[in-house]
Symmetry: C2
Subunit: 228 residues, 2 copies
């Protein structure tokens, strides 16, 4: 028996920094001795619950983030391209249907979270790479199809998405994030010697490695990894 | 003739993340092929000019930052200890006299910025390690004395601190930071092939190294370096 350290990753596909954190952790789960738990949650609920404001409301901070994401995208090898109207996409359209859909995917999937991983990635690709909608059922279907799900599975997931059970599950995961002290995403919770250590953002990987007794090898530990 | 890349570091001693950035850059100026320019500036003016709010006003974010600083302090080997009343220290007392004093030190120093570096460090040590005042003339004197300045030099610097010339110089450096797009500190501006690349915070060193064609070797590149 190995004692793999559990790392929970709380994320929302509306958040581009979450995409960076997600891809890095997906790469490292085969490099570090960890059991990565994907925890799709609702960022809007976390911001409201924590009384936090989006960083982009300060104009120079918004400009900086655009530049920062461009540089990080290249360095992390994650194909981020801001949508033409980020405010509309992030604050008006939002991610509630997408995160309910992902919650349904996780609910249905047995024996792992390969589908959750792939559908998450396809949703990010739509919103943060291809400037496409993620709120309409047809959009969610396309993402799921690209992730390899069948038409039958997708139809069932869309039905399940609007069930009370899935709505409640997303609320509960979001509340779990708030209970750990979240005020934004991505948030990583590393369970080290029984204690949860919470890390916010996608810029603490070197410190996370240090805290877990692992090595940080840069954002591309496995150079042979397939392109996104 | 070598063509060393110029890196400007904008900071304020009221900011603990600036202390981390400052120590890392002071360590790396002998490792990377850079000409580090210390730019002490007034964070209060930057926040006001950019319309930004301190991150600590969200309660869970404040709690997280306390924990984050504790972990980073250990990992970066910078002895940060939060003062007993951080809000009083950061928002009521502030850093205007300290930053004017540092501006005077820089104004007077010829042939380098060893004194600016050492007095900055002693001011950080007072506020962010020893829970001591940095607003009174006696406090500034103690910090300067510990940095190796003579009583005569200190008396002159205290006089110079309240001159219009020094007040204007601090305003100008603060305005320079805003012109680069600052909304907080630390801010690093790397001049790479004639273009200024701006980096906010003390969590982009790996990316900065990458952008400058240098290597990131962790927060302690020179293990033989003296303890702070």
């Amino acid at each position: 028996m190995t004692s793999r350290k559990v790392v929970e990753l709380f994320y929302d596909v509306v958040s581009p920094y979450s995409w960076l954190g997600f891809e890095v952790m997906c790469r490292y789960r085969n490099v570090w001795n960890i059991d990565l738990k994907l925890r799709p949650a609702f960022l809007g609920g976390v911001m409201q619950g924590a009384g936090n404001k989006p960083p982009g409301v300060v104009p120079t901070k918004f400009l900086y983030m655009t530049k920062d994401l461009q540089r990080l995208s290249r360095y992390f090898d994650v194909p981020i391209q801001p949508p033409s109207d980020p405010f509309e996409v992030m604050f008006n359209k939002g991610s509630l249907p997408a995160m309910r859909f992902l919650t349904a995917v996780q609910q249905k999937e047995k024996g792992g979270d390969k589908q959750v991983e792939q559908v998450s990635r396809e949703l990010w690709r739509r919103i943060w790479s291809e400037d496409k909608d993620i709120t309409q059922p047809a959009s969610l279907s396309e993402a799921a199809k690209r992730a390899g799900l069948s038409d039958g599975e997708i139809a069932e997931l869309l039905r399940l998405s609007s069930s009370q059970e899935v709505k409640d599950k997303l609320k509960n995961v979001t509340q779990d994030a708030l209970n750990y002290g979240a005020f934004g995403f991505p948030m990583l919770v590393c369970h080290v010697e029984g204690e949860p250590e919470m890390f916010f953002g996608s810029d603490r990987f070197e410190l996370i490695a240090h805290c877990m007794g692992e090595k940080w090898l840069g954002p591309r530990p496995d150079n042979s990894a397939a392109k996104l």
